[in-house]
C-alpha cells in the first residue's frame, strides 16, 4: 500500500497541453475517481501515474519514491484497461501468470496466487479458456484477476466498465467496491460516468480540460460544487441552471423572469449573507431536480418556497416522475412522486427547498 502524490504535473503532446499543472494527493488505501468529459485528460493522467507516458514536467511520488524515471514494471502498480487488453493467444491461466513468469516467480508460488485470485473473483472454471471464449463480464473479471495477482501498491482502473451492458456494469461496480473494501488498496479509477464516480469513490477529482476543478468526497462534490462545471457535470438529471438577478424583496431573492412572469426565489440567511454586496447584479441559480418537488416532500423546518410553472413534458421513471418545464428561458426538471396528479400543458405548483439552492457567478462560474 502506498500514497500517491502528484506535484505540478504537466503533459504536452506536441504543442497540445493535455495536463496543465495538476496537484493531487491520494492517501494510502483511498479510492480516488478521476471523472470528467471525454478529452479532459483523465486517462492521460492515469497513464502518467502508470508510467505509460512520460511527464513533461512536475513530479509523481508513489509511496516515498519519486517515480518520474521509473518504468511501469518497477512502479509496483497494476492496471485494468478499458479494452481489457487480455493476451488473446493465452489461456486465462497464462494471462494471469504472465506477469509472474516475466518476473521469474517460482511455479508453486504462482499457482498459489492464481488459486487465491480465481477464488476471489469466481473464475476457477474459466482457467483453461482463451479470452475469445469469454463473455464481457468474464473478461472483465480476468482482467481484474491479472491486476490483483500482482499484489500491487496501487490499482489503476481505466474506464473498466464502459464496455459492459448496463446491468452487468452495476454488478461489477458493486464487485469492485467490495473488493476495495476487502483489500483496502490505494486505487485510482478513471471514468466518465458520474454515477460510478459517486458510488465508488472515497474522493472524486472532477477534471476538465487538463485541470482538476474540484477534489473532495462525493457528498461535498455533489452538495457543494465549486463551480458551474462541477455542478452540472455531477448528478443525473443534471442541475437546473437558471439565470436571474439579485433583488431585495423582504430579504435577498433571486428574481427569475420569463414569459410566465417573474418569480423571486428567497435565499436563506446563510446564502444571502454571501451575496449582499451583489444586489442588482446577475447571478446563476442552481437547483437540483430533486429539490424541486411536489408540496410537502421536504423535511420540516426547511426553507421551502412555492412557485407555479406550466408543465411541458411528463417523464415517468418508475420510482419518480420527472416534470419538464421552462424557467427563466431555459429548460428545467423537477422530480415528484409517481402518484402525483399532473397534466402536461397545465400549471403545477412546485415546492423548492431553498436551503439546497446554489448561487453562481455568471462570469466566472464560481460558486458564491
Amino acid at each position: 500500500m502506498a500514497a500517491v502524490k502528484l506535484d505540478k504535473v504537466w503533459k504536452k503532446f506536441g504543442q497540445n497541453d493535455v495536463i496543465k499543472g495538476i496537484d493531487l494527493e491520494i492517501e494510502s488505501g483511498e479510492f480516488v475517481v478521476l471523472v470528467g468529459p471525454s478529452g479532459c485528460g483523465k486517462s492521460t493522467l492515469l497513464n502518467l501515474i502508470a508510467g505509460l507516458e512520460t511527464l513533461t514536467s512536475g513530479d509523481i511520488q508513489i509511496g516515498k519514491q519519486r517515480v518520474n524515471d521509473v518504468p511501469p514494471k518497477d512502479r509496483n502498480i497494476a492496471m485494468v484497461f478499458q479494452s481489457y487488453a487480455l493476451y488473446p493467444t493465452k489461456s486465462v491461466h497464462k494471462n494471469i501468470t504472465f506477469g509472474m513468469e516475466t518476473r521469474n516467480i517460482p511455479r508453486d508460488e504462482q499457482e498459489r496466487a492464481v488459486g487465491e485470485v480465481t477464488q476471489l473473483l469466481h473464475i476457477e472454471q474459466l482457467l483453461e479458456r482463451k479470452p475469445g471464449q469469454l463473455s464481457g463480464g468474464q473478461r472483465q473479471r480476468v482482467a481484474m484477476g491479472r491486476a490483483l495477482v500482482r499484489k500491487p501498491d496501487v490499482f489503476l482502473f481505466d474506464e473498466p466498465l464502459s464496455n459492459l451492458d448496463a446491468k452487468l456494469r452495476i454488478e461489477m461496480r458493486t464487485e469492485i467496491k467490495k473488493l476495495h473494501q476487502r483489500l483496502g488498496k490505494t486505487t485510482v479509477y478513471v471514468t466518465h460516468d458520474q454515477v460510478e464516480a459517486m458510488t465508488l469513490a472515497s474522493r472524486i477529482a472532477v477534471m476538465d480540460n487538463g485541470h482538476i476543478r474540484q477534489y473532495g468526497p462525493p457528498s461535498e462534490i455533489y452538495e457543494d460544487p465549486t463551480d458551474l462545471f462541477v455542478a452540472s457535470f455531477m448528478g443525473s438529471p443534471s442541475m437546473n441552471i437558471v439565470r436571474g438577478r439579485l433583488v431585495e424583496n423582504g430579504g435577498v431573492t433571486v428574481r427569475v423572469t420569463d414569459e410566465e412572469g417573474s418569480i423571486d426565489f428567497p435565499l436563506p440567511a446563510e446564502a444571502a449573507g454571501k451575496v449582499t454586496g451583489r444586489i442588482g447584479q446577475e447571478v446563476v441559480l442552481g437547483l437540483r431536480p430533486e429539490i424541486i418537488t411536489h408540496p410537502g416532500a421536504h423535511a420540516a423546518g426547511s426553507n421551502v418556497f412555492m412557485f407555479k410553472r406550466t408543465v411541458d413534458v411528463i417523464e415517468p421513471t418508475g420510482p419518480d416522475t420527472m416534470l419538464v418545464f421552462t424557467l427563466g428561458g431555459s429548460e428545467a426538471i423537477g422530480r415528484v412522486r409517481p402518484d402525483e396528479v399532473v397534466e402536461a400543458g397545465k400549471p403545477y405548483g412546485f415546492q423548492v427547498n431553498m436551503d439546497k439552492a446554489k448561487v453562481f457567478d455568471p462570469e466566472s462560474g464560481k460558486s458564491l
Binding site: 511501469p72 514494471k73 484497461f81 479494452s83 493476451y87
Partner: protein, 294 residues
C-alpha cells in the same frame, strides 16, 4: 441452397438469368483450367503421340517417361542432370530468404506500431516506397553490392537480394496487422514486466499467425517464381529452378520435347502450389479461431 439465406424472387426470367450466370462462370473456369489440362495431358503423352495427335486430345497411352526425364536427365545447357539439382538450389535459396524477410518484417511492423518513435511514419513511408521499385531498377546497384561483399554468383547473394527486396512487402503486411492490435495489450505487458523482445515473441508473434502465413505464401511464391534476379545474380550450377526451366525449354537442340518441357514446368511450379494448399488451409483456420476483439 434455396432453403437458407436471402429470400429470392422466383420466376421464369429469374431462372434464365441464373442459368446464364452459371454458364458464364463455367466458361471462365474452362478458360482458366484449359492450359493446366493441356500441360498435364501433354506431359503424359509420348513424343510420337504428340507429333501425330491433336494438341488438346487426352493421352491414349499414359506414360511418365517425360516426368522422369525432366527430373533427372533433361539437358540444362550442357549438363544433363534434369531439373532436380536446380530445384534444390531454389529450396536452399527460398527457405532462408522467406524466413529471414518474414521475421525482419514482423519485427519492423511491431517496432513501427507498438514502440512509436520520432520519425516512425517517415521510415515506414520510405520502406513502403521500396515496394514500388521495379526489379530492373535495382539490378545494377545490387550487382555492385554483391560484388563488393564477394557474394556475386552465389546462392547466398540471391538470398540477400530477395530478403532486402522482400522487406518492403513483409514490413507493410506486419505493420498493417500490428496497427490493429490494441495498444492496451502492449501496455499491460509492459506493466507485467515484459520488454521489447518478450512482448514480441510471447504475445505479438502468436497473435500474428494469420499474417505470418499470408506473408510466407506471398514471399515464397514471389521468390520461388522469380526469374530476373535468378538469372542476373547466379551462374550455371547455382541457378534456381526457374532459370533452369528456361534453359531446358530454350536450349534443347533437334526435336522439341514438348512432353518434357511441360513436365519440367509443372515440377517447377509444384512447390508454390503445395505451399498455398498447405498454408492456405491453415490460414483460413487461423483466421476463424482465436480472433479476439479489442
Amino acid at each position: 441452397m434455396s432453403e437458407s439465406g436471402i429470400v429470392r424472387r422466383r420466376s421464369a426470367g429469374h431462372t434464365l438469368l441464373r442459368i446464364l450466370l452459371f454458364a458464364v462462370l463455367g466458361l471462365f473456369c474452362f478458360v482458366y483450367l484449359m492450359p493446366l489440362v493441356v500441360m498435364i495431358s501433354t506431359s503424359l503423352k509420348s513424343l510420337a503421340e504428340i507429333r501425330t495427335g491433336s494438341f488438346i486430345s487426352l493421352p491414349k497411352e499414359v506414360t511418365f517417361d517425360a516426368w522422369g526425364k525432366a527430373w533427372s536427365t533433361a539437358c540444362v545447357g550442357v549438363r544433363c542432370n534434369g531439373i532436380e539439382p536446380y530445384m534444390w538450389n531454389s529450396v536452399v535459396m527460398v527457405v532462408p530468404a522467406v524466413l529471414i524477410s518474414t521475421f525482419l518484417g514482423a519485427i519492423n511492423g511491431y517496432a513501427l506500431t507498438k514502440w512509436r518513435f520520432r520519425g516512425a511514419n517517415t521510415i515506414f513511408s520510405l520502406m513502403l516506397f521500396g515496394a514500388f521499385i521495379p526489379f530492373q531498377v535495382v539490378l545494377l546497384p545490387m550487382a555492385r553490392t554483391l560484388g563488393y561483399f564477394g557474394l556475386a554468383g552465389s546462392t547466398y547473394g540471391l538470398i540477400l537480394v530477395h530478403t532486402v527486396y522482400g522487406l518492403a512487402f513483409t514490413t507493410l503486411f506486419f505493420r498493417n496487422f500490428f496497427v490493429s492490435v490494441s495498444d492496451g495489450i502492449v501496455q499491460a505487458a509492459k506493466i507485467d514486466g515484459a520488454g521489447f523482445f518478450p512482448i514480441f515473441f510471447k504475445l505479438m508473434l502468436p497473435m500474428a499467425v494469420p499474417t505470418i502465413v499470408v506473408t510466407v505464401i506471398w514471399q515464397f511464391t514471389n521468390i520461388w517464381n522469380d526469374f530476373l534476379f535468378g538469372i542476373a545474380f547466379t551462374v550455371g550450377d547455382s541457378n534456381p529452378a526457374t532459370v533452369a526451366l528456361n534453359n531446358i525449354v530454350a536450349s534443347s537442340t533437334g526435336v522439341k520435347e514438348y512432353n518434357v518441357d511441360m513436365a519440367a514446368a509443372i515440377i517447377a511450379g509444384l512447390p508454390t502450389l503445395l505451399v498455398y494448399v498447405v498454408a492456405g488451409n491453415y490460414f483460413v483456420r487461423g483466421l476463424s479461431a482465436g480472433a479476439v476483439k479489442g
